[in-house]
Symmetry: C2
Subunit: 96 residues, 2 copies
Amino acid sequence: MSDVFEALAAPVRRPILDELHERDGQTLFELCSRLAMKHGVALTRQAISQHLAVLESAGLVTTKRQGRYKFHYIDTAPLQAIAERWPARRRKRGRP
Amino acid sequence: MSDVFEALAAPVRRPILDELHERDGQTLFELCSRLAMKHGVALTRQAISQHLAVLESAGLVTTKRQGRYKFHYIDTAPLQAIAERWPARRRKRGRP
DNA sequence: TTGTCAGGCAAGTCACGACTTGCATATTCT
DNA sequence: AGAATATGCAAGTCGTGACTTGCCTGACAA
């Protein structure tokens, strides 16, 4: 589970999740072009591929191979677990 | 808000939040000893201090100065926002 | 005032992660 | 078969962040 935090650390990986959240099941090339267009991400294909590998090993992205294509799907389950690790508390005293 | 992710990236900073979540309003020295005891964190006081500064600038920790003591409080509000950025979706197709 | 305790500032080292470049593999099309 | 497409592997560079060390500031007590 600690992989999730490190996966979200890099600023580029958040737009990747945004993209997959908006349009699930994209291929690597698809993601590259859409990230460049809408999110201003100017990275090589290999860079995006490495980021996807990190996200996948963190459980935030699952993949499905089909012929020469590899489709990427977002999995938001680990993200929900973050908020549950430190549940909201009542305020003990007034702090500005 | 992107500071929150970078703040959570370092593995040592998560036990710090755990400690503050369990016992809110600790001082720096208090945190150091308790982290060493219960979480096996063997870091210098300055290291913990720097981590607390990162957590504070990310909005995850607030502080209150009182005499020569500085009390630290956890703020879980930014953590809830993480889960809301990528809301859970219905599964589009069966993926293992 | 002098000593002690809590915390802060600054600079330096060091390792790890992010990107790139270059080549290799596998699948589909003609 | 051969070319084009989609992706993977490996090594190398480079910057940034995590820790430490050393000294300084401010508050309280004797």
